[in-house]
């Protein structure tokens, strides 16, 4: 186990350096300058700005300086476009917003998606399956940016339950965005659960359990669910990272100051330090939750335990 964790840590480090380098190369290759604006900036001011942000140094030096700041100080530097903040401050401020909305959304998606998927699998190719599967697909087929404005129009403007946009009242402003975000993941979770459960229900041990006279509910939820949820667990690794790091569509429509919004803004503004910081944050989340999902799979699937985790992964 310790060997597995260590080798995972080392691999993650390699991946993070790779992500950093990829963003670095892409930003250096892309045309346009972060300081290009409507007003022409005088040459000497531009010179000062470039030297202030360290952009006048050679590319390898810039690459190493940024990387070593991450590796040894966990410091993302100063963004090019947001005066008065550091990258770390922006991430520390916006990640909790995204994580709150995403976390509630994920709980909602799990709470509705798993029962829907189990129900659809139990009623395979019957009316109940079609209804449940169609319901699950609503979240996938209607883009978030359609559902979000409709939800605002209905719940915020017509019914007046919530503020339509913004992040002023932390007690209520997360509800509507969370539900909208969760609806999308609900669809995927239900589909994956249905697929996993169908496979589980095909296994011989299920037939054995049923032939021993156990109730359908017990077989479904005790025997099959554990096997049937395995594909979902491997999906949830990257999905959890994505949902916690923030959906810029939801954050844009609801006007939330989350990480997703900063990421898109940084990509548009060529704000390399901020973009690097937010993508690295996302990368860490992906790696962490992938690791977590591997551990949970190990714990849920006795077959993986036999050969030792490191051997089987």
């Amino acid at each position: 186990m310790a060997r597995f964790i260590l080798s995972r840590l080392f691999q993650s480090l390699v991946v993070l350096v790779g992500i950093y380098t990829l963003v670095f190369v892409l930003m250096k290759l892309s045309p346009g300058s972060p300081f290009a604006g409507e007003k022409a900036v005088p040459a000497h001011v531009l010179e000062r700005m470039r030297s202030y942000y360290g952009l006048d140094q050679s590319l390898p030096v810039q690459w190493w300086r940024g990387l070593s700041n991450y590796l040894f100080h966990l410091d993302g530097g100063i963004p090019l476009k947001k005066d008065g903040f550091t990258v770390n401050e922006i991430i520390a401020e916006s990640l909790p917003v995204s994580a709150l909305v995403g976390g509630v959304g994920l709980l909602f998606a799990l709470g509705t998606g798993i029962p829907l998927g189990v129900f659809a699998a139990a009623r395979k190719n019957r009316v109940g399956d079609y209804v449940a599967s169609s319901l699950a697909l609503v979240g996938i087929c209607l883009p978030t940016f359609v559902i979000a404005p409709l939800a605002i129009a209905w719940f915020a403007l017509d019914l007046g339950w919530f503020a339509p946009v913004g992040w002023d009242d932390p007690r209520a402003d997360w509800i509507l965005p969370s539900l909208v975000l969760g609806l999308f993941y609900m669809g995927y979770i239900a589909r994956i659960t249905r697929g996993g459960m169908l496979e589980a229900l095909n296994q011989d041990y299920i037939r054995t359990a049923l032939s021993k006279g156990l109730s359908e509910g017990r077989v479904l939820f005790v025997h099959a669910l554990r096997h049937g949820l395995l594909p979902l667990v491997s999906y949830l690794g990257p999905a959890t990272a994505g949902i916690l790091a923030g959906s810029f569509v939801v954050e844009t429509v609801f006007g939330l100051p989350g990480l997703g919004m900063h990421t898109v803004a940084a990509a548009r503004d060529r704000d390399q330090p901020l973009l690097t910081g937010s993508i690295m944050t996302y990368g860490v989340l992906v790696l962490f939750f992938n690791f977590l999902s591997d551990i949970v799979q190990y714990w849920m699937n006795p077959r993986l335990r036999g050969g030792g985790l490191a051997a089987s992964l």
């Binding site: 691999q11 991946v15 087929c141 409709l150 990509a267 993508i279 992906v286």
Partner: protein, 310 residues
């Protein structure tokens, strides 16, 4: 003298075969899958609905080009935001353009993004995964770490950076989306190739002295087609969604051209006064994605009989 049959219950193979072959018609995997798919009524309905939508968009676009339907990009500022029915079957938008023809043209753009980007991603993914799985060892490890790195980047951000790098151009949009969607395909194909390459037919091909490329692309890749087809069908709706999201962010299809994504975005902006601008494009988009997903599920059941047995 003929050797005695091993067991009396087994038919004599030499005598039984020709007669059997005459009675039992051999079916190819593709035909077999099609027969199973045909039994899945929902998938077949979805297939026809999709064919209908594509045909409608094509015919509508042709009629508009021929002058029978209004032009999709021609402004009529005196006929702004007309509700459905009043001269325009589905209403007009903020510049007095006919929503229906815009939906037809937008549909063609959305479908072509979906198909071309999917083909690009399938091509990259299959080639990459097959090579990684076949070569194995260090090369495989490095290639899969690269996939891990790209996996840990937000997809859309990658596309945004690529789009700002290459500029907003429809063909580059195809390539940019295709260039980020191939990762899962590469993993699937690699896994398949890893198990296939240990089988006898590959050994036979090696001993016949075939080149590595020939073995990969003539012997291994054709054997991975089942999962590849299934995942490809499910990539089409994902790509169309991604295009819509990009267009929503103003980074996809540029005005005056439209895709379903840009139409939905325009509709969402004017939802409060003219709901039809949101409802019609969203409805046709949702129906299309719905059918594509159900068709993909049906194909999976058809191509993988193990998962569909009751």
């Amino acid at each position: 003298m003929d050797p005695a049959p091993l067991s009396p219950s087994l038919p004599d193979p030499g005598k039984g075969l020709p007669a059997e072959a005459e009675i039992v018609q051999g079916t190819s995997l593709g035909r077999d899958a099609w027969l199973r798919l045909r039994k899945n009524r929902l998938a077949i309905i979805c297939l026809w609905v999709l064919v209908g939508i594509v045909a409608l968009c094509l015919i509508g676009a042709l009629l508009s080009k021929a002058g029978i339907l209004p032009d999709a990009n021609e402004n009529h500022l005196d006929k702004k935001l007309l509700p459905p029915g009043s001269g325009y079957l589905l209403g007009s938008d903020a510049l007095g353009r006919d929503l229906m023809t815009r939906i037809f043209f937008g549909g063609l753009v959305s479908f072509s993004v979906g198909l071309v980007a999917t083909l690009v991603s399938t091509f990259i993914g299959v080639a990459y995964g097959a090579v990684a799985g076949y070569v194995g060892g260090r090369v495989d490890a490095v290639m899969m770490r690269i996939v891990d790195i790209l996996y840990a980047m937000p997809f859309v951000i990658l596309v945004i950076v690529l789009m700002s790098f290459f500029g907003s151009n429809l063909i580059l949009l195809f390539l940019a989306i295709g260039a980020v969607e191939w990762l899962t395909m590469a993993r699937i194909v690699r896994g398949q190739v890893l198990s296939l390459k240990k089988q006898e037919f590959v050994e036979a091909a090696v001993s016949l002295g075939f080149s590595h490329w020939r073995i990969i692309f003539r012997h291994l890749v054709p054997n991975t087609m089942g999962p590849v087809i299934v995942y490809t069908t499910l990539t089409v709706p994902a790509v169309m969604r991604l295009e819509a999201v990009l267009s929503f962010l103003g980074m996809g299809v540029q005005p005056p051209d439209s895709s379903w994504g840009t139409l939905i975005k325009e509709g969402a902006d004017r939802m409060d006064i003219s709901l039809w601008l949101l409802v019609f494009p969203s409805a046709i988009f949702a129906v299309t994605l719905f059918c594509l997903n159900f068709l993909g599920d049906g194909l999976r059941d058809a191509l993988d009989p193990k998962s569909s047995k009751d």
